[in-house]
């Protein structure tokens, strides 16, 4: 098939895949379009079988790791970890809105770093919402903090974001070195978010909430211990050259077994928590993007992205990655950019991550998807405060991007 036609077809299928994944018509799984799309590209020879097999082999460990991390988050929730965090924030804040915001920042940043941004968005945000309601404070600053930190605070560890997991194998870094290099950028991003959100929502962060914030929840000591050991395991396995996914698996087993034995979860719950359709979607998306990058887009991206590790190059890489993440979505963006920067070493790969992880605070899911999502919300009688959302994004994303990239540049010189 001539390359322009092949490229248009792959591009069209990528858009269809993404639209279906976001809109999910009739609640159908996102893999429903992605898998046939990948199959069609294989069938037509747009994506050669050998390339597909190589891509699948390189994605498989990442997908396994992702499954283990998703399971870890779900099982921690079943231990009541997030409810306990909500009660802790309520008590610790003593009804003061700024103190509460600081605690939400601390908890959301930690949860995102250790249990991935998914856990912050799906498991923590509703708890924060309920906590704020119980304290009789205004929800908006705290909810924005959760959604923003789910992105900005997902820089620290390979497990913090699916994009990190994808880049982790390409970067050639160990788990420990990844974390050590990204610690400064992570802190820089959180600090900028704090400064901007604190100012932006100054009008809402006033007054006093309730002093007696409802029932205390016991801290799930066992679950915290397992998570701590799992975190330690990530670093230890990397020292001994063992895949850190095994540490995640170990943690998931340690949490899962007592829950299964006491019938607090069923085998079916565990199977559902693995989210197999999503794992299939990631694989299929990887194949569709691969086809697209084989036919021209890959070389275009290579031209766009500089290779060096000077501060200027790193900034440019981060900006290109952020723009791409906002145009399409950060998942395909990172898949497109990785092959172009992987050869240049860990610095450029991590700069890509700063772009694709923090950039989405501008349009969240990519501009196309945000528009679609707005319609979905309207049908439910809710609305997305699009101008406020974008204004806050425009105020945070550029400084976060610059601060985190400068921090990365410093970090690369310190950690090496």
């Amino acid at each position: 098939m001539p390359s322009p036609i092949a490229e248009s077809l792959a591009g069209l299928l990528l858009v269809a895949t993404l639209v279906c994944a976001i809109v999910r018509p009739w609640g159908l799984p996102e893999a429903l379009v992605a898998v046939p799309a990948a199959g069609l590209l294989l069938l037509l020879g747009v994506l050669p079988l050998s390339e597909a097999a190589a891509e699948a082999r390189s994605l498989a460990p990442t997908i396994g790791f992702l499954a283990a991390v998703l399971l870890l988050a779900t099982l921690s929730d079943r231990f009541g970890l997030f409810e306990a965090a909500g009660a802790w924030m309520a008590t610790g804040s003593r009804g003061r809105p700024v103190t509460l915001l600081a605690l939400v920042f601390a908890v959301a940043s930690t949860v995102t770093a250790v249990l991935s941004l998914d856990a912050t968005v799906v498991l923590l945000t509703p708890v924060v919402f309920a906590t704020v309601a119980r304290l009789r404070l205004r929800a908006k600053p705290h909810i924005y903090a959760c959604t923003h930190l789910a992105n900005s605070a997902s820089l620290l560890l390979p497990v913090s974001n699916l994009t990190n997991l994808l880049a982790f194998s390409a970067s050639g870094l160990s788990f420990a070195r990844f974390g050590a290099t990204m610690a400064l950028p992570w802190l820089a991003a959180i600090a900028v978010e704090w400064l901007v959100l604190r100012r932006f929502f100054a009008a809402d962060l006033i007054g006093h909430g309730e002093a007696s914030p409802g029932p205390r929840r016991p801290v799930p000591v066992y679950a915290c211990l397992v998570l701590g050991l799992t975190l330690l395991g990530f670093f230890v396995t990397s020292v001994f050259d063992v895949a850190p996914a095994f540490a995640a698996l170990g943690g998931a087993v340690a949490l899962g077994v007592p829950l299964l034995r006491s019938h607090r979860v069923t085998v079916r719950d565990v199977a559902l928590a693995l989210q197999v359709p999503f794992l299939a979607f990631v694989l299929a998306l990887g194949l569709v993007v691969k086809a697209l990058s084989l036919h021209g887009l890959g070389s275009l991206v290579t031209h766009l992205v500089p290779g060096g590790t000077s501060l200027g190059s790193l900034l440019l890489i981060a900006v290109v990655a952020a723009v791409l993440a906002n145009l399409i979505n950060n998942l395909p963006a990172v898949l497109l950019l990785l092959p172009a920067v992987a050869a240049a070493g860990p610095g450029p790969v991590l700069a890509v991550l700063i772009g694709v992880n923090t950039g989405p605070n501008l349009t969240y899911v990519g501009s196309l998807a945000t528009l679609l999502w707005r319609r979905v919300l309207r049908q439910r009688g809710e609305e997305l405060p699009i101008s406020e959302f974008m204004r806050l994004g425009a105020l945070t994303v550029p400084p976060v991007l610059v601060a985190a990239t400068v921090a990365l540049w410093v970090s690369l010189r310190l950690v090496g």
């Binding site: 498991l123 309920a130 007054g207 609305e383 405060p385």
Partner: protein
Amino acid sequence: MPPVRIVVWVVEGTWQGCVDAASHSLPSGAQVALLHVTPSDVAGVAEVATSGLLGRAFPGRRPTRSLQDVADEAASELLAAAAARLGRQDAELLHRRGRVEREVIRAVAEKVDLLVVARDGDHSRLGPHSLGPATRFVVDHAPCAVLLVWPDEPPGIESIPPAPRG
């Protein structure tokens, strides 16, 4: 003469001061309504974030209650607490949902004599922008008298900056 009709706009964080100020300045025989507006966009912010996950929706963890339900319940409790603090169990409780500033104006559009509003905004930065956007909108557009109260201690006169020279 029909009784004076007063609406007290109750907002999280500042409602106590607002209710107290209203109770001090209530004329006898006034009809009181307590108004709370749940913003319709906060749940949207939380939900758009889930769309960013592209379907990693954590099956089995569908929240038992939607965020809107949580917000509605909290609003009813807040209004009940405000009525109790005011000591007027006959107060009408108005719960609206939508764009906050517009819903407040809609609620006082007819036959309301006085709207009691707590100042919000950053009290450490007094000046032209010292009110939050929603409060500013309400103060500007309310078709009735507005009583603007400090939810906490009013600032001293030393908060006035020195007069510009010349």
